[in-house]
């Protein structure tokens, strides 16, 4: 028991036994585990397939139906009720471009400004700043039709009284996506470490110089990503535009402040899609292809921008 000579063979035996057990355990994975693992992996795969299936079905359907109508006429010709084969999206495309240009003009300074205030200046111990914070999160979840009503009541009529002009539509869409931009910009600003701010302040920079020359440049990729995603949402919105005057049928190029009406891509697609004639349905599908390509391109660009320029600290 105590002598070294007696323990050595026993040790060897114990080691051999342990190894045999280990080997047996390693090789014989319980059948139940194998089945469960496969089952779970299969379910997870199914979940992602369902998500992808919608997109794929949409793309295939749109391409099959819309392919015949895909031509440059789509971009250059105005819509027409009489000649579907010649009808296009020109005013709607120009309207959409002007709309998002207005959205960008409004949302970039206001969104970044609000984000800077909340991140750099707001004293979080004050209740009103916390209320603002929570409500910005809430605003991002408000249905777009409600923004449409807001736009109608306050921008088209009411205090601003702009009338049914494109700029009013732009402003409504900007309000709709503003919370998204604020949230994205805040996250980008928060990601800039405090050591950068301190390093700048320690050199005798003022708070504003620090924000302008250090914090903002370092957070621009994140902010730009947020702006692009917000703009792509604005580009696809239909409901609020219907309320603030995106007239369905416009055959001329809209101007930002013209009171003759304006149109936008999703509104025009809707208009074509509800018509009974086959040609208009094809036209709607072609419009969907154009919009999808633009939206996917914008979102891909946003992702690329984020991956390429995001600062890793």
């Amino acid at each position: 028991m105590t002598g070294p000579g007696a323990t050595a063979p026993r040790n060897r035996l114990a080691v051999a036994g342990a190894r045999a057990t280990t080997v047996a355990m390693l090789r014989n994975q319980p059948r139940r585990d194998v089945i469960l693992n496969t089952l779970f992996a299969g379910m997870l795969l199914l979940a992602i397939l369902i998500a992808l299936a919608g997109l794929v079905a949409l793309l295939v359907q749109a391409f099959v139906k819309g392919a015949p109508a895909l031509s440059t006429d789509l971009f250059t010709n105005p819509p027409s009720t009489a000649f579907p084969e010649k009808a296009g999206f020109r005013p709607a495309i120009i309207g959409s471009l002007e709309l998002i240009a207005g959205v960008i003009l409004f949302v970039v300074p206001v969104g970044i400004g609000a984000a800077i205030y909340l991140e750099e200046y707001a004293d979080k111990s004050k209740w009103w700043n916390r209320v603002i914070e929570v409500n910005i999160q809430n605003l991002a979840a408000v249905p777009s039709i409600i923004y449409g009503i807001l736009g109608l009541a306050f921008i088209v009529r009411g205090p601003l009284d702009l009338g049914f002009i494109l700029a009013a539509g732009s402003l409504t869409l900007a309000l709709l996506v503003l919370p998204m931009v604020i949230i994205a910009a805040r996250e980008a600003i928060r990601a800039v470490p405090d050591s950068i701010r301190q390093g700048s302040l320690a050199l005798g920079a003022t708070k504003w110089q620090t924000i302008r020359s250090q914090v903002l440049p370092a957070s621009i990729p994140g902010i730009a990503t947020g702006v692009i995603l917000a703009v792509s949402r604005a580009l696809g919105e239909t409901a609020p535009l219907l309320l603030v005057g995106a007239t369905v049928f416009v055959t001329f190029d809209p101007t930002p402040f013209g009171s003759d009406g304006y149109s936008a891509m999703p509104v025009q697609i809707f208009n074509y899609a509800v018509r009974p004639q086959e040609e208009f349905q094809t036209l709607a599908a072609a419009g969907i292809i154009v919009m999808l390509v633009v939206l996917l391109a914008m979102n891909s660009f946003a992702i690329w921008l984020r991956n390429r320029y995001e600062q890793r600290w």
């Binding site: 050591s195 950068i196 390093g199 700048s200 302040l201 320690a202 005798g204 600062q311």
Partner: protein
């Protein structure tokens, strides 16, 4: 058993009171600084720093001399960084921080009502524990300070001089437009020093500047400090006693002190003297215990 405990408790309390009594000896400090002919940069008289009303350091009285390297040493939590951050009003960034007592900079009250912390930081630069270069080019890192101060003439020369001053020029002169994040940790820290001296401060505060660096980089920064003190006054916080012994002219030893109930702790200046004296012949037994490695 309980009797024994209460007795030891009382003894600790007495010992704490005794320690507190030893800690503050302003007369002695004044006597020592009077012996030095050097001009004073900072004069601290009974400085307390509080965070949210709770003291982090108490009753600090010391003079910091021009073109000296002054080291602040002591165990973790003794408030040496807190004290350092008071000297260029970086503590102002913490809303709950409060500085009491008298803190003179070249005879001016640093916390006087007319004093703008931004102006203070132009004169009293700071190098942080972890290198914190800006996510910009090497050139722009150094040029940032002069640019915000509106000193845009001869910017190239200013940048070169600052980089030379920080012993970094030869390593980076061919890649000034590269991102500063591509530099090694030691180079980044020297870049931060260059950035600091480009503003032409009068004093440089260094908060454990080598704690994130390897020994070779540390050696370079230590050599640099000895060069820099020709031109600047330097105050360095370090937890590395050898470093303090190598680079500093004067050393202040701070220690953690507890109140009678041991609920609160704060830093107290135990000894402040010529570095050589602090390390070879300290007058306080606690300093001796610390520098000889018995405690801390």
């Amino acid at each position: 058993m309980t009797q024994d405990e209460s007795r030891t408790g009382r003894e600790t309390r007495e010992a704490a009171a005794e320690r507190a009594a030893i800690a503050v000896r302003p007369d002695e400090f004044q006597h020592r600084s009077a012996g030095s002919s050097k001009e004073k940069v900072f004069e601290l008289k009974g400085v307390d720093v509080l965070y949210g009303g709770v003291a982090a350091v108490k009753g600090i009285s010391m003079d910091i001399h021009r073109k000296d390297v002054t080291a602040l040493i002591g165990p973790s939590g003794c408030g040496k960084s807190t004290l350092l951050r008071c000297l260029n009003r970086m503590n102002d960034l913490i809303p709950s921080a409060e500085v009491q007592g008298e803190l003179l900079y070249h005879g001016e009250d640093l916390y006087g009502p007319q004093v703008d912390p931004v102006q203070v930081r132009k004169l009293i630069g700071m190098v942080f524990q972890k290198p914190n270069p800006f996510p910009k080019s090497i050139y722009d890192n150094v040029a940032f300070g002069p640019r915000i101060l509106g000193r845009k003439d001869n910017l190239d020369a200013t940048v070169e001089n600052a980089l030379r001053g920080a012993a970094l020029w030869d390593e980076v002169k061919d890649r000034l437009d590269d991102n500063a994040f591509g530099l090694s940790g030691g180079q980044q820290q020297r870049l931060c020093i260059a950035r600091c001296i480009a503003v032409e401060p009068d004093t440089i505060l260094m908060d454990e500047p080598c704690s994130a660096l390897d020994p070779i980089s540390t050696g370079k920064i230590e050599d640099l400090m000895i060069e820099l003190k020709e031109e600047f006054s330097i105050v360095i916080v370090t937890h590395n006693m050898q470093q303090a012994a190598r680079v500093s002219d004067r050393t202040a030893f701070l220690m953690v002190e507890l109140d009678a109930d041991e609920d609160n702790r704060w830093g107290r200046l135990v000894e402040y003297d010529e570095t050589e004296k602090v390390f070879t012949n300290p007058s306080d037994p606690r300093t001796e215990d610390y520098v000889s490695g018995k405690v801390g």
